[in-house]
């Protein structure tokens, strides 16, 4: 059935899509915001580690479900297999209103100035499609500010000498450290590093009518029991709906972008909550379905004018998939460092994000979130340790409160072969070809990770750890929670998918506003940058719209 035409369809109610829906509806455009998942609250899953969104051995509480969703994963040897959402190789983020922003760790990083000009900073890297962004930190700065104030961030950049410049401070004061972070903070200072409290999308004071953080242990991977974690589901999406201009359609799965005979985009088709196929006509479409699902939708939308998928004339859609080359170190202590004061991750340094002699890029380093009991039992021990039996149980008892870890998201060098394609054989519940993920990390990424892990290990040793060991990532492609880069922005239509406003080259009424746009993914968790881009792209659409441009 064909629905009433609206000005804009936004596909995906996650980080970028939530922001776009709010900005467009506030400016008076009529908007339909599609989300394939539903509303997930703390009441739905409580403190259940086995279905939480961080290690999910039984299921993903924040979606998608194992019954209707599949992907194909191609490993380094070229073997392909079908993977379910709660397997690592599915590379899941989430699927619900707010997506990952409901259950994230809430680190709220601005990328640094260098992160927007990686090629100018590091030159050509063999085997990499490394490029500068078509926009600079300066362009995005006001939009970072908007994200911080509208969604809500606690932090204090004044103690981080590497923080990029800013016009306005964070809206809430920084969080204090728990015992573990205090120990690490003083060790970092001894080493001459510059530790500070991680900026967080959590309330350090009451904010926007919601409460202050309760420091629960089950934070990352869970919805907040006191609603003190700020995602799009409790900020911009409700605001969008309150304008009266935005309709949120949940459990609606967008299937395809529709074009007419002239090659103009006219709307989307979708399956509603009863699996009935519907058509939603729109003047413009904003894709914010995540760095895996946005390219999948574009590649699945073939037509006479777009035989290789929409926006894919030069075969860049789905390329340059990046997450982070996560690395770090773990350490065991003689005394207890654990206090149960959550969320755990608290102290960070940016001393090694850039300008590491002989390496490309780098990462911020931060202490790890509280490890939950099952996760701790299945990892976080020195290589060669017992994996079961009395020795394993003794380790659990002795070290649960006597360990600390430091991790860093090493910025990856993008490459053309790390990519999202659509499968020829495998389809999902609705008969739509699923995403196929393949690729690898470059040797440079692993080398940088080794360098950064070494710094993490030295930091733990300085803090008094009696035994330490490093964790270095494998060569496999990364995406998952930090997936980005698959529809990069750029000035040249032959080597990018959108222009600097997220407008798809050659398809004037199609925009992208999610992690797909990232040219490079910083040495930081990406969500604040994705939110800032949501504001940036929307601002362009609204200004043009108000000047009468109907794209």
């Amino acid at each position: 059935m064909e629905k009433k035409r609206v000005n804009a369809v936004v596909v995906g109610a996650g980080a970028g899509g939530g922001v776009a829906a709010k900005e467009l509806s506030e400016a008076g455009l009529s908007v339909v915001l599609f989300e394939r998942g539903g509303l997930v609250t703390h009441e739905d899953h409580g403190n259940d580690e086995l279905t939480a969104q961080r290690s999910f051995p039984l299921a993903c509480a924040f979606g998608p479900d194992n019954e209707r969703y599949r992907r194909v994963y191609r490993d380094l040897q070229g073997n392909e297999r079908v993977v379910l959402p709660n397997e690592w190789d599915y590379q899941n983020n989430a699927a619900c209103v707010g997506s990952g922003t409901v259950c994230y760790g809430a680190m709220a990083w601005r990328f640094m100035e260098e992160d927007f000009k990686m090629k100018s900073t590091y030159g050509t890297v063999e085997g990499s499609t490394l490029e500068d962004w078509p926009i600079s930190y300066e362009d995005l700065e006001p939009y970072y500010e908007k994200a911080e104030w509208e969604i809500g961030v606690a932090g204090d950049d004044s103690i981080n000498p590497y923080a990029p410049w800013r016009r306005k401070p964070h809206p809430m004061p920084a969080f204090h450290h728990n015992r573990e972070a205090r120990i690490l903070e003083s060790a970092a200072k001894d080493l001459g590093y510059h530790p500070f409290s991680i900026p967080m999308l959590r309330n350090s004071v009451p904010y926007n009518g919601r409460r202050v953080c309760a420091h629960v242990r089950q934070c990352v991977g869970f919805a907040c029991p006191v609603d003190a974690k700020n995602g799009t589901q409790n900020t911009v999406i409700p605001t969008a709906i309150e304008t009266g201009n935005c309709e949120l359609k949940i459990h609606c799965k967008v299937a395809e972008l529709l074009t007419n005979d002239q090659g103009r985009l006219t709307g989307v088709s979708y399956f509603d909550e009863n699996d009935q196929k519907q058509i939603q006509p729109a003047d413009i479409i904003v894709l914010a379905a995540s760095a895996t699902e946005t390219p999948r939708l574009m590649l699945n939308s073939t037509s006479k004018h777009f035989p290789n998928g929409i926006g894919n004339r030069y075969d860049w859609v789905g390329r340059n998939l990046q997450g982070h080359a996560y690395c770090g170190a773990d350490g065991l202590f003689e005394h207890e460092v654990y206090t149960g004061e959550g969320p755990g991750a608290s102290v960070a340094i940016c001393d090694f994000n850039h300008h590491n002699e002989g390496y490309v890029g780098g990462a911020m380093l931060a202490n790890e979130f509280i490890k939950l009991p099952y996760a701790y039992s299945s990892g976080y021990r020195p290589p060669g340790s017992a994996r079961w039996g009395q020795e394993h149980k003794d380790f659990q008892k002795r070290y649960y409160r006597r360990n600390a870890s430091i991790r860093g998201p090493v910025q990856e060098m993008p490459n053309y072969e790390s990519r999202v394609q659509v499968s020829r054989e495998v389809r999902d519940h609705w008969g739509i070809p699923v995403a196929k993920i393949s690729g690898y990390k470059l040797d440079e990424d692993i080398q940088t990770a080794e360098f950064i892990a070494d710094k993490a290990e030295k930091w733990l040793q300085a803090a008094g750890a009696v035994e330490t060991w490093k964790s270095i990532p494998g060569k496999g492609v990364s995406g998952s929670q930090h997936q980005a880069g698959t529809c990069r922005m750029g000035d040249d239509p032959q080597t990018s998918v959108t222009n600097k406003y997220g407008q798809v080259h050659g398809v004037d009424n199609l925009f992208i506003a999610d992690g797909s746009l990232h040219v490079t993914n910083g040495g930081f968790n990406p969500v604040l940058t994705i939110m800032a881009l949501g504001y940036w792209v929307s601002d362009y659409i609204v200004k043009e719209w108000q000047h009468g441009n109907r794209f």
Binding site: G46, H392, Y400, R401
Partner: protein, 180 residues
């Protein structure tokens, strides 16, 4: 009381509710020393094998072992029709009896009757793939002994360390043990 305490209280109450239903309905009287809970999917013998495995993965000491913590109940619930691991049902139904019989040739005993040291030695061999290509192979088919071991080990840890709402971690024993 912080909201975290509050939540833990709520979960504790929920747990009490669950265990009341459970003790009210599912326990039957049996041979002293042997657990005699009835299960959805596992037979008595399979459950005994699973109990012993659970105690090998997490041995009892000052704190409950895998068996007392309800790991077998966790596995049984998860491989039942409404569980999260339904697809592993055949794996357990085939591999538990195979695991019990495999030591017959070498040790002249079933797994269930091996003494402690032999049991651990046998499981270590199983874990390392020693039986993957042995004559014992056919009773495991189509599964591979070391693959079963890896999955079983992981799922025992889930049952012991995961939320009691899934049927294991009785009385939050693992949380108390590590002082989470």
């Amino acid at each position: 009381m912080t909201p975290d305490d509050l939540l833990n209280n709520v979960s504790r109450r929920t747990f009490l509710k669950i265990s009341a239903i459970w003790t009210g309905g599912a326990w039957i009287v049996g041979i002293p020393g042997l657990s005699s809970q009835s299960y959805d999917v596992l037979t008595r013998e399979e459950a005994d094998i699973m109990d012993l495995l659970a105690d090998c993965m997490v041995p009892p000491d000052d704190f409950a072992g895998g068996k007392e913590a309800g790991v077998t109940n966790f596995i049984d619930q998860q491989i039942s029709r409404n569980g999260y691991l339904t697809e592993d049902r055949d794996l357990y139904k085939t591999c538990l009896p195979a695991l019990n019989r495999t030591p017959l040739k070498e040790y002249k005993k079933h797994f269930l009757t091996l003494d402690r040291d032999a049991r651990i030695e046998y499981l270590k061999k199983l874990e390392r793939g020693f039986y993957d290509h042995s004559t014992a192979e056919e009773i495991w088919e189509p599964f591979i002994p070391s693959h079963f071991f890896a999955k079983m080990r992981d799922q025992c840890l889930m049952g012991f360390y995961g939320s009691p709402k899934h049927g294991g971690n009785n009385n939050y024993v693992s949380y108390r043990m590590i002082r989470f």
